[in-house]
Symmetry: D2
Subunit: 446 residues, 4 copies
Amino acid sequence: MTSDDLFTPIFVPQAVRDAASGRAWLQALLDAERALAVAEARKGAIPAAAAERIAACCEAERFDPAVIAEDGRRVGNPAEPLVRALRAAAGDEAGRYVHFGATSQDIVDTAAVLVSRRVLELVLADLDGVAAACAALAERHAATPMVARTLLQQALPTTFGLKAAGWLVAVVDARRRLAEVRDRLPAQLGGAAGTLASLGERGPETVRLFAAELGLREPDVPWHTARTPLAELAGALDLAAGTLGKVALDVALLAQTEVGEVAEGDEGRGGSSTLPHKRNPLGATLTIACARQVHGHASVLAGALVQEHERAAGAWHSEWLALTGALELTGGAARWARETLESLEVDPARMRANLDATGGLIMAEAVAFVLADRIRLPEAQRLVGAACRRAVESGRPLRDELAADPAVAAELSAAEIDAALDPTRYAGSAAAFVERALARFRGDSA
Amino acid sequence: MTSDDLFTPIFVPQAVRDAASGRAWLQALLDAERALAVAEARKGAIPAAAAERIAACCEAERFDPAVIAEDGRRVGNPAEPLVRALRAAAGDEAGRYVHFGATSQDIVDTAAVLVSRRVLELVLADLDGVAAACAALAERHAATPMVARTLLQQALPTTFGLKAAGWLVAVVDARRRLAEVRDRLPAQLGGAAGTLASLGERGPETVRLFAAELGLREPDVPWHTARTPLAELAGALDLAAGTLGKVALDVALLAQTEVGEVAEGDEGRGGSSTLPHKRNPLGATLTIACARQVHGHASVLAGALVQEHERAAGAWHSEWLALTGALELTGGAARWARETLESLEVDPARMRANLDATGGLIMAEAVAFVLADRIRLPEAQRLVGAACRRAVESGRPLRDELAADPAVAAELSAAEIDAALDPTRYAGSAAAFVERALARFRGDSA
Amino acid sequence: MTSDDLFTPIFVPQAVRDAASGRAWLQALLDAERALAVAEARKGAIPAAAAERIAACCEAERFDPAVIAEDGRRVGNPAEPLVRALRAAAGDEAGRYVHFGATSQDIVDTAAVLVSRRVLELVLADLDGVAAACAALAERHAATPMVARTLLQQALPTTFGLKAAGWLVAVVDARRRLAEVRDRLPAQLGGAAGTLASLGERGPETVRLFAAELGLREPDVPWHTARTPLAELAGALDLAAGTLGKVALDVALLAQTEVGEVAEGDEGRGGSSTLPHKRNPLGATLTIACARQVHGHASVLAGALVQEHERAAGAWHSEWLALTGALELTGGAARWARETLESLEVDPARMRANLDATGGLIMAEAVAFVLADRIRLPEAQRLVGAACRRAVESGRPLRDELAADPAVAAELSAAEIDAALDPTRYAGSAAAFVERALARFRGDSA
Amino acid sequence: MTSDDLFTPIFVPQAVRDAASGRAWLQALLDAERALAVAEARKGAIPAAAAERIAACCEAERFDPAVIAEDGRRVGNPAEPLVRALRAAAGDEAGRYVHFGATSQDIVDTAAVLVSRRVLELVLADLDGVAAACAALAERHAATPMVARTLLQQALPTTFGLKAAGWLVAVVDARRRLAEVRDRLPAQLGGAAGTLASLGERGPETVRLFAAELGLREPDVPWHTARTPLAELAGALDLAAGTLGKVALDVALLAQTEVGEVAEGDEGRGGSSTLPHKRNPLGATLTIACARQVHGHASVLAGALVQEHERAAGAWHSEWLALTGALELTGGAARWARETLESLEVDPARMRANLDATGGLIMAEAVAFVLADRIRLPEAQRLVGAACRRAVESGRPLRDELAADPAVAAELSAAEIDAALDPTRYAGSAAAFVERALARFRGDSA
């Protein structure tokens, strides 16, 4: 990926790109070095004055990412050249205490965790926005009838509120998991062998102070090749992006010209100059695209669990771009999904029209149940099934075919048939489920 | 996969295969139907006598999996033909109340959760065994020196106890996550549209009773196309299998002929008739093979998060074999890793010999630190570096090259050099980290 | 996966399951042993009588897959126990020549190739059926107008023939690639170290005879850890299944209740007892489900390219179930796609109705081009754009809004406007492209 | 991925980054627009003067990638804003003919193919270098004995030449496939609906001229949602990177301190300041890291085969970064593998020492075969097996244990035993296989 990348800005908002940029990584590496010096000085492992001097130098603006990156090519990671540059910046006296007792992976892993936390703040904020938008839709449309679709076929009535409630619970769950994982992200400090040998007895306490300085969890033991934190993060990002992908797919399907039940609201977006009638579901489209890419990156990260000995020969290195990509594109999915839902135009009239499109056939089950209050269920189902078949063949509404059947008419009046065919009376527990989803959302947000 | 599969038994223990078998799935489908009838009778939605009759018929032995499977081909899932068979078994009176208000996916998803829980009991027990074996190794070898290896190169001393402690924490974390996910697996009940329309007002309460009957979590709303539970399960299985894969890879690397620090203990296993000297790391090998396959299945499951509307056209169906495979093969990884570790033969003498193989070069950092107590660190590093280079060229021990350098000899006596080169004195925080890992294990097991 | 698997029969036709079954693998292993004995006897490496006796014993019915599989658990592959069983079957004299000079992987890899070829015959036959069905649709509907949809929005007119032609070319390409890969599948014979050491000078010639006996390609060198053949096969299966998944997704989308342009034809299939109006796109659904699973298996296989030394510790073992699954489920996708397309009911009237649904808006581009013959293109586009906006707001047909604009009416008569709005006149190169696709199909089939 | 990316330069050489950069993509988009104008002018669809003017403007330096990217965010692709910018640059008269009849995907897909071809030139050149390096190693070490290792255990003798020959054939195969796929990459031109409607009758001929102008294959039909070309490319990149990963894994394993048979040669690289004895296999490590990442990107691309109708809502968009990443990182793998192999230091003495490390045990099979010339094979195997067990227990060389057994000594003299134990005499067909590999390489290179 390069500096003049034409594609990332399409998917990823500027703030997320900034938080995952090379410069942000550079600052995170420096934050780790700074915290290390501070913690070591506090434990007496290095002089306090050296730590102060080092800390003062730990600002990304002092260093050139391009130089660090090119030098990193010779050793296989960016920490080693940065340490050299930082030593030079800190001067002879303090410089030799830079990175004391640490290994490059301590710094790169800790920076990975810091970058992750910083990007996750943005992602979680957008997920909050997505959840709030889902909740608003669920509440507003708790009683808006629409058709439920299974295998892409009209099935039975539901409400748009229940659909949005389903999105809401999934988003709340994904958000909870992502926050959980974030809160467990540990600092990394083990030295070259994971023993912190050059810190002598001071090792564990230095780790504690180091983690505290950065506001990170203190690990039980170094996790140089036990990649649980990153694999869990990858899984949580995949879950979040996939969940948003589901919401986006529903939006794109509902926005189809032939369905027309929703549209993305921002008119300046997704329009086509040559095709003026189109209202492209652009936000949904890009959300889905982000989710697909996150899935690929997450697979690389989970696949990197199997690492050799105390430092892996390749699997570790494979994480950096995959993690950056997974973070960025989950951020992209969250922002696009949020924009999509916050601007979503819902067309209850079209929902109602689609509900009626089969001439009542989707109410067949409901009619059979009503009829079964009078006659046995199998017979009721047989009569309704026959009426359905006649309706399909004749093209007449199911209502007329039912009324025309003496065996049905003997049990149900015309008004009763109409009532049985009313989709708005057949939403079952939809309202109750919406309430539960909203309660869950409010509980989680509280 | 077929009835006479030559491969699955190599990877997966019999008990796990049984718990994930077609018959086990069949019973789980029937358990779901039984619980549905019981819950509905309790809410008055169907007659109690019918529920009793249905419950009595819900035994897998009454049905032929092959017939259900073949019939399932016509409708795309096994629940529909099973419902028909169960209705026939229950007789006219009770049969019409079978599956009342439910949709096939309610039953298949609930069965998936039941099968998962049952397999997970076995997997978690084997993970407990793995953790206990790691803990035993960590404790027994807390002070057994060995060399740490980074990028597959000897780096610095560590202890085998710390290596095992690293495994232990990772396994404990993976086990915790898997148990967490298991505890959150929800029942599924929503009816064809997710509204439980045919249950009228009784929907939410029926869901509660249904879940309680099966000992499963009650979902907030139906999750027909919000696949968080399965995606989280997939992630947790991938994490567990990948973590075991890391342990296994270390074992296989340590068991290399040229390294020889461990061997798998079961002599009747992994031997080669034509190659009598080989002690194949068979358990490690098969653990790794399982982990790779779990990763593929987990990717299918996480990729299935993006589902259409109220029932997906394909993504749902793609879950069944992937879930079964992921469960089975995680079970395979856990059993093989357990057998590997429980029988692991550790060779501390070989560890020590390997530690000495570089003639002290891996102690260069340690010597430089000792020397840096007398002279400035950069000069100390320069002197030691030069001695290392001479040692590499001459093939003589670093000890001799250091002693032969007047600048070094001026600061360190021969005894001090020997002490500085003693790898057993350079394990840093290894013992403390082992203690922390054991404390974590005991805390989690308590 | 187990003997009473409820799910595989839903996806995979019986013949494919048989060709990939444990028994089929067993026979393939025996075919490899038989060919080895025959080739070695021909080269004088073993006695001819022994080879005859061995060959006579190489019948799967003589062996119990369950026993082989259970014994395989102790050594990590099924070849070793089979060799022991085959030796016993062949008797003392001939038995000692069984598997002479070979390693287990020679037999397992050669069997994998044989099983693959046998399954591929079935898959290719079904792909031929899919291609023929696409060609028939392309030809029959070369002039059937329908709307093209981009980002799920109606865009411009096309023909159903062109859509089917697009499917056709993709299927023909995927089929070609799969056949190519099949033809390159090599035999495997290298002995334990890949040197065929125990065959002395006879190695290369024995390999040649062995491959010839089985009708397989002779490899340049043993490929025990150079998995190009399987990785290429995995890629070709993924390509084929993914291509079928695209066709199936189009079918499922066209079959939506609100679109209704196609339906799967087999009425006995995909119907719902409780939802009589539904025509579930079952074949399309299961095709998609197969494609998703193949993708997971193929990823395991391609991920297994990175293998250690002369025999991998895990990556090799991870291939067996993944390969079997990828073969079976590509077979499933091909059969389901074929059934779907061969029975596809196409509704040209509904296609035409959908084409008219936007009141001419999808013809805006076409009108602008016609108008641009009289006035400058930007001005033409501006006028048409304004008319479109008025049409969207008023709900009136674009025709009326255009005619009502004096600037348009000054250039185009009502008849000219009608002609410009006729979607059947705006299919561009659709017919030519259909011809090219059919020519390609006929060329490839010839 | 961002402009100051710290990681990509570690993996990817500058030339590859340049060829896949945003600027390179921008130029490729412009190349497509230029070729379109030229082709259309040639067919008379637009004025020749306009085409000339457009062509003159199609230089990347005229446009700002950052602006194009940000504007692309509003429409979901970079082609649309570029077309607007190009129209402005070309001026009123010519500008209106920019992009005539094309759709954004025509331009983006064609640019993807152009970028791919340009990167592939570099990748193929490095693959040539890798193959040449393998061939040189195979030739030079055709008779260098080393031990073959299976499941990471010493198995039998082989030669380093045969190991390199195995790499060679795999690299040659992967290169061939990548070149094949490159040669089949088609141009894309279909217009918004794939019908090229606005080109009237001129469609197919314009496509032909367009493809010819760019030196690309002319497609049978537009492939907007038939992604065979990209899926095949993804598979070929995955195959190439995975093949290089296998070579790199072997190098890293052979370079282990305890094995020491090879070392990466560039001393300025991979060294550790604090660990002077280490010779990190850096090139191998980064090759493996690249391969793992390519696998993730390739999975996204193959997963994107399933696209909707005439333009996908997300799957298409997911390709851009994945393709760029797959190209770059395959380029990274090829360059790192080449540097690794070209500088590889091989230590035949260490290979020989490792071959002798088991005291002759790896020659057990060979001795048994020699003995079997005198007595029956089972008895020979029994005697040798017993001697092996005694050797393992006593620690004495197998030679001594064999000589000490009267039953063996009765058949074989001490000199015969020594000869039978000589690993250099047990390389079987290794030399012949090396010859075949070299012949294949020379044939493919010719």
